[in-house]
């Protein structure tokens, strides 16, 4: 199975700071790849580079064999949620989805299907996003990512702000998506959450990959993921957060 997301020697430099340092990894289809690392490790920057919101300094990312911008209707094939808070507070949830559906070319009825799938009630959908909790915004964002029936999902910290029911729901959703052949790349700093949901782990610390393998492999080596995370990212975690 050829990988659906391929990151090759990706580097992103901000002045003197190397936010992403020669990162390479792959996310195969039919699985959830957890992208783990401390805050500021370069997870979000890598994901933004993947969809070219952030220009890479060097290296490249291909999704479904192409650069993101070369896909003719990219967001219909790659569902993206990079920051659930990044929505216009004055638009309603339904309006946000409608704008997405109009751009992708999905029919109006799709908006209702998606709302139902992510568990936003008609009343909530009519409310402005400014009134939403972070958990509701995450649901809306996941719904937006699913509008075009994508083959690949790229989600940055989608569990943030979700309550236990929400996390359970999302775990089932992503598990089902991957088991049906979809590719999921999901970042988190919540080890336990990732351990439950992911098949594979890519761990990043201070811009560099520090571990890459199946959850079983990584656990076999280290007993549990937390020990490994603390060990591998100890020297690379941010100043002041070092263990």
């Amino acid at each position: 199975m050829s990988p659906m997301i391929t990151v090759t020697n990706l580097t992103k430099r901000y002045g003197d700071v190397l936010a992403v340092d020669n990162v390479s990894f792959q996310a195969p289809p039919g699985s959830v790849t957890g992208f783990l690392g401390p805050n500021g490790a370069g997870k979000s920057t890598t994901m933004r580079c993947a969809v070219e919101l952030t220009p890479a300094t060097s290296g490249e990312v291909t999704i479904l064999g192409q650069r993101y911008r070369d896909l003719p209707n990219p967001a219909a094939r790659v569902g993206i949620l990079l920051d659930a808070s990044a929505q216009h507070a004055g638009r309603t949830g339904r309006e946000v989805l409608t704008l997405g559906a109009m751009t992708l070319g999905a029919p109006k009825a799709r908006v209702d299907e998606v709302l139902q799938l992510v568990g936003l009630t008609p009343k909530e959908a009519k409310a402005r996003v400014g009134t939403y909790s972070l958990g509701m915004r995450q649901r809306l964002g996941i719904g937006h990512a699913l509008l075009g029936n994508p083959e690949v999902l790229i989600l940055d910290e989608p569990a943030n702000g979700l309550d236990p029911h929400g996390i359970h729901w999302m775990r089932g959703l992503l598990r089902g998506f991957a088991d049906a052949g979809g590719t999921v790349l999901l970042s988190s700093h919540l080890l336990h959450e990732v351990q439950l949901i992911a098949d594979r782990i890519v761990m990043i610390g201070r811009g560099r990959i520090v571990a890459d393998g199946t959850v079983d492999e990584l656990i076999a080596d280290h007993g549990n993921l937390e020990d490994m995370f603390l060990e591998r990212t100890a020297t690379t975690s941010r100043e002041g957060f070092a263990a």
Partner: protein, 302 residues
């Protein structure tokens, strides 16, 4: 817990495993999400497949940007107030039509300048918002994910700005005609209905220029307050410099867009007027649009 969840490809998944769990359609060609409910363990609702465009068309980008222009409370209020002010001013002009025509003459186009006052003040603000709120509300993450070729997004917003300029120009002259008709009828004054194409075309050009200038400032600053203040205040500051003396004013004639646009609105052109309009619009319109577009296309969306 992950050990038993071996990743499977859709093509591997259509056999006995699926059909034995639930009688859900196990079409091998069906999209992943449609098959989600087929697995017993995670309870996931069914999401049907959907039709999507083969590619994102420019027309749909324009439609979406037009909708975004109008679908927030700020946009609706600004446009509503602008349009209401035009209607209100047209009626006031009709009431005082006799006094007005004693100053301005009876040409129906003379009313347009009054009628458009509110619209011309508020709608550039909407155009600025169209470009700045993407950054202040961080919707660039969505907008540029849906269409990573940002130049097309900027072009779609530009089409919206020009379309809005055209619509408002029509509305402004429409209300000028209504006001003149009512005023003329009430006060028994013969309105001069002749079409002065020079003025009509000139005012349309001025409209489009002010929308382009607003777009340029919005893109250049990517910040609503800075863009609006600069758009409103900087031209006034420059005009005021003319008070410093006739030598300064002689230079300003080539720089100040508000004075340079006057021939457009009056339809009377003297020597140098065209060149002065050209240099002033290069400074206030072309330069901000070029620099702003460059910045809009390159800035990291985060």
């Amino acid at each position: 817990m992950t050990a038993d969840l071996t990743p499977t490809h859709p093509s591997d998944q259509t056999g006995t495993e699926m059909t034995s769990t639930q009688p859900v359609a196990a079409d091998p060609m069906a999209h992943p999400l449609t098959q989600m409910a087929a697995r017993p363990a995670p309870k996931v609702e069914l999401l049907k497949p959907t039709t999507v465009f083969d590619r994102v068309g420019f027309g749909s980008l324009v439609k979406v940007e037009m909708r975004k222009f109008l679908d927030t409370r700020a946009g609706a209020w600004l446009l509503g107030i602008g349009l209401a002010s035009a209607v209100g001013i047209a009626l006031i002009c009709a009431v005082f039509y006799r006094q007005l025509t004693e100053i301005t003459g009876t040409s129906w186009t003379m009313l347009a300048g009054f009628v458009g006052f509110g619209v011309q003040l508020l709608v550039p603000v909407m155009v600025i918002l169209m470009f700045t709120t993407e950054w202040t509300q961080r919707t660039t993450l969505t907008t540029f994910s849906l269409e990573p070729r940002r130049g097309r997004v900027v072009a779609a917003k530009g089409v919206v700005a020009v379309a809005v300029a055209l619509a408002l120009w029509l509305f402004q002259y429409g209300m000028a005609a209504v006001g003149s008709a009512i005023g003329g009828a009430v006060h028994h004054i013969d309105v001069d209905w002749s079409m002065d194409w020079k003025i009509l075309a000139g005012s349309l050009a001025a409209y489009i220029m002010s929308m382009a200038m607003a777009a340029g400032f919005g893109m250049l600053f990517m910040n609503t307050a800075a863009a609006i203040v600069t758009y409103m205040a900087l031209p006034m500051v420059v005009s005021t410099l003319g008070l410093a003396g006739s030598k300064v004013q002689a230079v300003l004639n080539w720089v100040d867009l508000s004075t340079a646009s006057v021939p457009l609105l009056l339809g009377e052109w003297k020597a140098n007027d065209g060149w002065q309009l050209l240099t002033a619009s290069l400074i206030w319109v072309v330069l901000p649009v070029v620099l702003g577009t460059w910045r809009y296309l390159r800035t990291e969306a985060k």
